[in-house]
Symmetry: C2
Subunit: 337 residues, 2 copies
């Protein structure tokens, strides 16, 4: 198996990506194609003191900054993102992993690879930590406008991911809404509720925002606008709480001592809720495998993202999605309006 890894993505430059990719190639016995500025990648090899046998450098001389607009990409045919996605398209790689600008990776991969047959909209999905384990949220930002049918497809695709990757035989599916009753929600969710209820999926009803992190549902579907707001609000609350806590604690001597005693444990907690440590976000329903790690990823998170890409390919997720989407559209061979 060959996994292409974007050496340029991430907030910390090529060091983290190269270190993580080399580690993954070794640990998982994979061939890794490192995509980026050749000279910079070689420099990192020198630093690591090992030129792994199963790693190839693919030169991509143009860099896309984390802050660059996606429009800059139109003219950058040789950015690491564009070259990496192209490798998947030409079947020279089985999957592409990037810690780069999420919007840029979504834009390029949808444009170059397109959707799997039968899929209306590839969805950006993300595993988030909850009180009980992990919950898959989708869509978290690829599609700002969705139809009820799209949300049903997200549920079908999320189910396959949770079965094949997380090993849940029959994951529960919730619909993000503003009340638990069927009658609550907007026009989109009310219609999606009916479709999900009529489907053979393990649909458990509406999930309110306050229950995302309680782990009530294994999968929560929403349009990409709502999902992105929910995710970004969560990030904002965590950051705000930590800075308010710091401000409050520094005012008092005993609280400061208390903080020092707890510090190591608070850090562990921060790591627990910081999803950059997990495998990454994945575009489900794309005609090619594409994993997007968080920009803040550590080299260990990069290694995990490569492992996720491997699992994605090894479990034949793409074929399963194609089959299940076709089945959902025509249950028992009958056409559905």
């Amino acid at each position: 198996m060959k996994i292409a890894v974007d050496a340029m993505g991430g907030d910390f430059g090529p060091r983290i990506a190269v270190t993580g990719a080399v580690q993954a190639a070794q640990d998982f016995n994979l061939e890794v194609l490192l995509v980026g500025v050749e000279a910079l990648i070689k420099k990192e090899f020198d630093r690591l003191g090992r030129a792994a046998a199963n790693i190839t450098i693919i030169d991509a001389p143009e860099a896309v900054g984390m802050g660059d607009g996606i429009f800059a990409l139109r003219h950058q045919k040789r950015s690491s993102i564009r070259v990496g996605v192209q490798l998947v398209k030409e079947r020279r790689a089985d999957a592409f992993v990037s810690m780069g600008n999420t919007a840029a990776v979504v834009y390029v991969s949808r444009k170059v690879l397109g959707a799997l047959a039968g899929v209306n909209k590839p969805a950006l999905s993300l595993l988030v930590p909850t009180l009980k384990g992990m919950t898959l949220l989708l869509d978290v930002g690829a599609n700002a406008n969705c139809a009820p049918e799209d949300l049903e497809q997200f549920a079908v695709m999320g189910r396959i991911f949770m079965q094949q990757i997380m090993g849940l035989p029959n994951p529960s599916i919730g619909l993000m809404s503003i009340g638990e009753e069927k009658s609550k929600g907007n026009e989109l969710t009310k219609e999606a509720f009916k479709r999900l209820q009529a489907s053979p999926l393990n649909f458990i009803g509406n999930i309110e925002g306050k229950d995302i992190y309680s782990g009530r549902a294994d999968i929560i579907v929403s349009d990409g606008f709502t999902g992105n707001v929910a995710l970004k609000v969560s990030e904002g609350v965590v950051e705000t709480l930590f800075s308010l806590a710091k401000r409050e604690i520094m005012k008092n001597f005993f609280a400061k001592i208390g903080f020092l005693l707890m510090k190591r444990h608070l850090k562990k907690l921060y790591k627990q809720v910081d999803y950059s440590e997990y495998g990454g976000a994945q575009l489900l329903g794309l005609n090619g495998v594409c994993i997007i790690g968080h920009g803040r990823s550590s080299s260990n998170a990069v290694r995990n993202a490569v492992r996720l890409a491997r699992d994605f390919v090894a479990n034949g997720i793409q074929d399963r999605i194609r089959e299940e989407i076709a089945k959902a559209a025509c249950p028992a061979g009958e056409a559905r309006a």
Copy 2:
């Protein structure tokens, strides 16, 4: 001035509401109409040992539980919520304050009082604490489906509230969206962006979920579905973080000691982010003044909610909204499509 207060609302029964209302009547020299089951209210008076001269009991024998669906209200003509709202309609009270079921208060007050002339949709607005002060979010749940024009009206109404109640001469207005650029968002927000930009309001552009609590904007407008999700997600994250922290801390002796030293300060922090301590949510654009306190409110929060109702009336917010909405519809006397 006469303020009607729902004695039955809130998670802790009449005690909190009666105590807060009696305190408010005394501190702010107001006439308070306490609405609820007469015998229960009298019992609380006995406990307090004072029957304030400026308090009248209005009997409302039917109770609405915090968990009851709004449909139960159709047949409850004499619930404290229905009776309290009716007092405002008949101008026997200048405002109604309830700590009851938010959905029930929104439902009854919209049905009984309707919208102010020119207002499409009364919006539920809420002050939330930020790193810099307070930000007004609206709509946080009264209207799941909105048009771009509604969001512009929310901005106009929110501005009046922040000017008159919070004393900000020219509050900044943000639009909740999924990226800072104008091009980011869904169909609704892209259209609303254009309208807000063309308006004379102090519009500062899109606000991402992560920036709600940084205090970048004084007012953030959104449809009621998105606003409610954002608010509920915030509650969920705070609760989850506190329970994860507790779980992590209790594993270690030194961390436990640290926690004990910090406890008082963490409680202060919790209070700081717990918006039930603030005045309450208000329905802006309703044909009558209606303040909704959080169900978890303390008696001090009830007192604050009554003060907010007083300020609302004293500052003539209703007349200002009517005027400004008319002006927004026809700037400089011209009709607008």
